[in-house]
Point group: C2
Chain length 202, copies 2
């Protein structure tokens, strides 16, 4: 087993917002969710629930509920966040919610300790597992998660954390750049950056 | 590249609370944090900060701050959570905070959108990368994260999300069992479990 598989996957993965219609094998989705279900969680409550959506009618409802929340959000967002969104050409329109062959809705059980933390940790597993299978994805959190959860009839007590469109990229877009890990990492003292370059691979 | 590496790692990983004194290569820790720093985040703000702690004096301060918060928490916890903790023999004592050769403190920048979600997703990357290198770990969130953050002089504006002791297990403990992914996964309709067994690997 290679020893730098995770880092290669992490580096290769990027957020994708345009999907081709090419279908995805449901077994692959289940592989990624199976990995997620092995993650640790508060009191081992496994507070995640996943909804795989392939039905166009359901996707369309999810898109409608998402976009109505986004229209309100984009009308009020400002500051650094607003500038970032505008700079990326992002808007309230979320066509990927219908274009991607599969959506995975990720929910957390609100009564479980550290439910949100646990579910997002498990979502990290999902992203790497999808990347391993050559599938592209996005972690999209609707501005109005409640409205979207209602649109699919989610039970009370479960909070929608993310919608993951999954499929194959239509564009040849590039990954956003990342800061060097040495700039984000301190050693023994806050503010004292470790500041190293790490070499990986041969 | 094998196609079921992520699932194998996810299955093999378990939470470890007893560590041997065997030292850990700092390069390995940086490898895992480098993977994390490639994760997606809200507006690509990369809101994570990591503090690698190897200094025994700093570990001891972290343990003290953690345990004083835990004593208060354990005095008041009850219900299902309390029973789970008691059943696992867990208490306010956190010796792993001194026993593990390395601690990684994971912080999130509170001003960044979806900072908590982003940092926990990245923590999922960390756990898999550590597992790949044969390192064991725990995601421990102190009951009083503020006190622990203060004990290491973290800046205002950063929230302590988790302390990860990292090293080699002393015990031959077993992983907590997990529910089948088919029980946690719906298809197109809430409540309609996909209920499959997935086969992976030969």
């Amino acid at each position: 087993m290679e020893k730098d598989h995770i880092l290669s996957l992490a580096r290769a993965r990027r957020s994708v917002r345009r999907y081709s219609g090419e279908p995805v094998d449901l077994e692959d989705i289940l592989y990624a969710l199976e990995a997620a279900s092995q993650a640790p969680s508060g009191s081992n409550r496994q507070p995640w629930r996943f909804m795989i959506v392939t039905d166009p009618e359901v996707k369309s409802r999810i898109r409608e509920a998402s976009e109505s929340g986004e229209r309100e959000f984009y009308a009020r967002v400002s500051g650094e966040w607003g500038r970032w969104l505008a700079g990326k050409g992002l808007s309230w329109r979320k066509p990927f919610l219908e274009e991607a062959p599969v959506l995975v809705l990720v929910f957390s059980e609100m009564g479980a300790p550290y439910h949100r933390e646990s579910v997002w940790l498990a979502t990290g597993y999902v992203l790497l597992a999808l990347q391993e299978l050559g599938l592209e994805s996005l972690t999209y959190t609707p501005s109005d998660t409640k409205r979207v959860a209602e649109s699919v009839g989610a039970s009370d007590g479960f909070s929608l954390e993310a919608v993951l469109p999954i499929g194959f990229s239509l564009d040849g877009g590039k990954k956003e750049t990342r800061r060097k890990v040495g700039e984000m990492t301190f050693h023994n003292r806050w503010g004292e950056c470790i500041g190293v370059e790490i070499s990986t691979g041969p």
